[in-house]
Symmetry: C2
């Protein structure tokens, strides 16, 4: 059926130029890309002014059942069939992880192919090497699908907002953790149960560590910071806090105070230096970022000319990601990617960064602290004393009476305490949390979250 | 100062290619574009890989004071200085209205210039003529700034979402009317006073007719329908209702029912035919479109692969619009616009439309009717009878007791009545409104609004 369609589309566009493509990696996203290319050839031909002809799809296991029907001869287990075919001009590189993904991309570039990828971890880890090689060989790497899935944030920053100096960028970039937080918020589901539900629905991997510990969001933020600010930052250098320590209580307390909690990735230019961090953050309800639900992503960019622009869409999933990959394939086939890539800053090793990062201790912010304290005389005084010592002033305190609900473990001398600070520095907030833990009056560690200032 | 900067930027980029530009029309947007080009040459050079050199700015009156400082020799009152300079390659055409805007654009194209414009009325009215000439001469027209100001919706539809069949598109495309509705909703301001406030703040023209009667939104929707669906529709053929007949009461009743009222432009593909309309619409609160405030614009696009993507930003204003114009200037200077323009469908006169429009009588929808009725026995029965006759079923009725608040004119025999229908056809809803008016029991005409179905 698919073969017939591709052929039909080609016959219909008989006089059209043809660009031969390959897909390496036919997993979820790869299958989606194959579907779009095979079933919707008319669509891509209309936008590209040429036939996008899928010549090869490279898989590890030829026998594995797939949810996309492929014409005979298209499937191969040998990636050399792509390297060695000089007629294949553009390759969708949809291999996850770092190796052999890195080696495959290097070989594709060396074989004269332009590459389209969705692998953000690979770019975050090996971007300089890959981009340097592509530039040296006159090839291109397109990577719209690597950040925020269906939201075309890469093209929007590098092309649509190019008249602006970007002042700030903040986003919900990890759909898995947003799904988990939505479950905890709406249904009061405990963290582990929410993770299990996300796994059951396919939103989370068997090992969701990179999603929930902030790694995935930090890798995406690093790519966006390169693009938007000309920063040259390794994702490992971005201060990040994950959502693992959150409890439904945190979402309930936040809600009582008028906030939602989201895993927020923020980049903000202050006095010429870039603040970067990933952290669970209290965001005022009824603002667009606070209302992002389930596995959706959102990005808010502020440019000095355009002002705020807000984007919301599906951050992952087969077809939203395939939509981004195919847009990149079209852009690469027609030559737009080449024109953009020529002036793209990311992962440049020849020019210096346009901005340096602010010392993370100096990052300004308001903070939410949640602790379980032993309900003894003098405890609150000792805790507030720690705030005073580090010159972080307290905006509000919630202390409920102890009861079975607040101490479900039955430890009735333990009560929850929530303290919101005024604006202070990240370093002071960290010192306060450490200082409180050192007092010996709290059970577990102190949960410390950022509070978004407008 | 500006001259020095342009020169400095050029010296610094001495080895760089240079593309000479002109601006025709130095009003609000034109001045903003000049500011970006003159004060931020480094920024545009970085993105374009070449210096964007502002060579001429054409104004009607050389003596008029301006808020942008221009280097000597740049300003001219003679547009022939642009036509006749073969070194000027790209021109920002920022002349409002239809004439001489049309003639100027035709002459620019004939003189071999690529054109960037913000004039949506001109495209909506003369698009086929202008695009045909540009195509014949191998020139390009870029028009990001013509729809939704700072939201780069043109590039997003024509490039970023090119892997998708667009299923629907809906937007708040007129900032002036959204500002007026926000005032009426938040403060209970009567319509005329809200218009005056919009004029005072510069959001509305002295004659705001095109903004409030739906013309401006219909012209923008026509352009988007060309791009997203391959429709060939004249804006005059889009059914449209304005906001002039709305009263603070309507916003209050809507709010009681859980809705906001927005002037919504909608395009939706149903059974292969395109539904298009512009109408004040009740939108469920706490959804993204309902929360668009003040002069902001928003667009929600649903693609078959990407799903829903939502955009929100400033729909007008000097710098947001200038941001879109300068992005187009960069795209045109580097050649991206040419690659996109080659396959762009809008205003094609050679290929048939991809979709036809649905007869507006058949448009499905739910409806809100607000009437002032004479409080006599049998009135409600007569009115509901009209609904029955046209087979539009009633979902809910709000009828308050008469008092001074509901009849401020003192006509205490007149009471307001609000009826919400179930899903029905536009033709039936119109027939119901006309049928009720013919009963002779209502004061004023019947206010009829659409209710957005999810």
């Amino acid at each position: 059926m698919n073969l017939a369609r591709q052929t039909k589309s080609e016959l219909k566009n008989g006089s059209m130029r043809k660009t031969k493509l390959a897909i390496v990696g036919l997993g979820t996203v790869g299958s989606g890309v194959a579907k779009l290319l095979l079933d919707h050839g008319d669509r891509t031909a209309r936008h590209a002014g040429r036939t996008l002809w899928l010549e090869k799809a490279v898989v590890r296991d030829l026998e594995k059942p797939r949810d996309v029907e492929l014409p005979t001869g298209l499937l191969t287990a040998d990636v050399n069939d792509v390297y060695d075919d000089p007629e294949i001009e553009v390759v969708a590189h949809l291999v996850g992880g770092l190796e052999p993904a890195r080696t495959i991309m290097l070989r594709l570039l060396e074989s004269g192919k332009d590459v389209v990828t969705a692998n953000k971890a690979l770019l975050a880890e090996h971007g300089p090497e890959l981009f340097t090689l592509a530039r040296r060989l006159g090839r291109t790497i397109a990577f719209e699908a690597s950040v925020a899935g269906g939201i075309p944030i890469i093209t929007n920053i590098s092309q649509c907002l190019s008249a602006n100096a970007i002042e700030s960028l903040e986003g919900i970039l990890n759909g898995t953790s947003n799904f988990i937080l939505t479950q905890m918020d709406r249904l009061g589901t405990p963290y582990q149960a929410a993770v299990a539900e996300a796994q059951r629905l396919g939103y989370a991997e068997a090992d969701p560590a990179m999603d929930v510990d902030g790694t995935d969001a930090a890798q995406k933020l690093a790519i966006l910071a390169h693009l938007a600010f000309g920063a040259q930052v390794a994702w490992q250098d971005i201060p990040r806090v994950g959502i693992e320590q959150l409890e439904p209580d945190d979402l309930r307390y936040a809600s009582q105070l008028g906030y939602a909690i989201k895993l927020l990735a923020e980049a903000k230019l202050v006095d010429g230096k870039l603040d970067l961090h990933v952290s669970p953050t209290l965001i005022q309800r009824r603002t667009p970022l606070a209302e992002v639900q389930d596995a959706f992503n959102a990005v808010r960019v502020v440019g000095d000319a355009v002002g705020p622009v807000f984007y919301h869409g599906q951050g992952a999933g087969q077809m939203p990601t395939a939509s981004a990959v195919v847009a990149d394939l079209i852009d690469t086939a027609v030559g737009r990617t080449r024109l953009t890539f020529e002036t793209l800053e990311p992962f440049s090793t020849t020019s210096p960064p346009r901005v340096s990062l602010r010392n993370s201790d100096e990052l300004p912010g308001r903070y939410y602290f949640r602790l379980r304290v032993k309900d003894h005389p003098g405890t609150l005084s000792a805790i507030t004393g720690v705030f005073g010592k580090h010159q972080l002033s307290i905006a509000s305190v919630i202390q409920h009476e102890r009861n079975e609900a607040t101490s479900p473990g039955g430890e009735t001398d333990i009560v929850p305490l929530v303290i919101m600070s005024h604006e202070g520095a990240e370093g002071a907030a960290r010192a306060v949390a450490e200082g409180i833990e050192a007092l010996g009056v709290v059970r577990d560690s102190v949960t410390r979250l950022r509070v978004k200032t407008p």
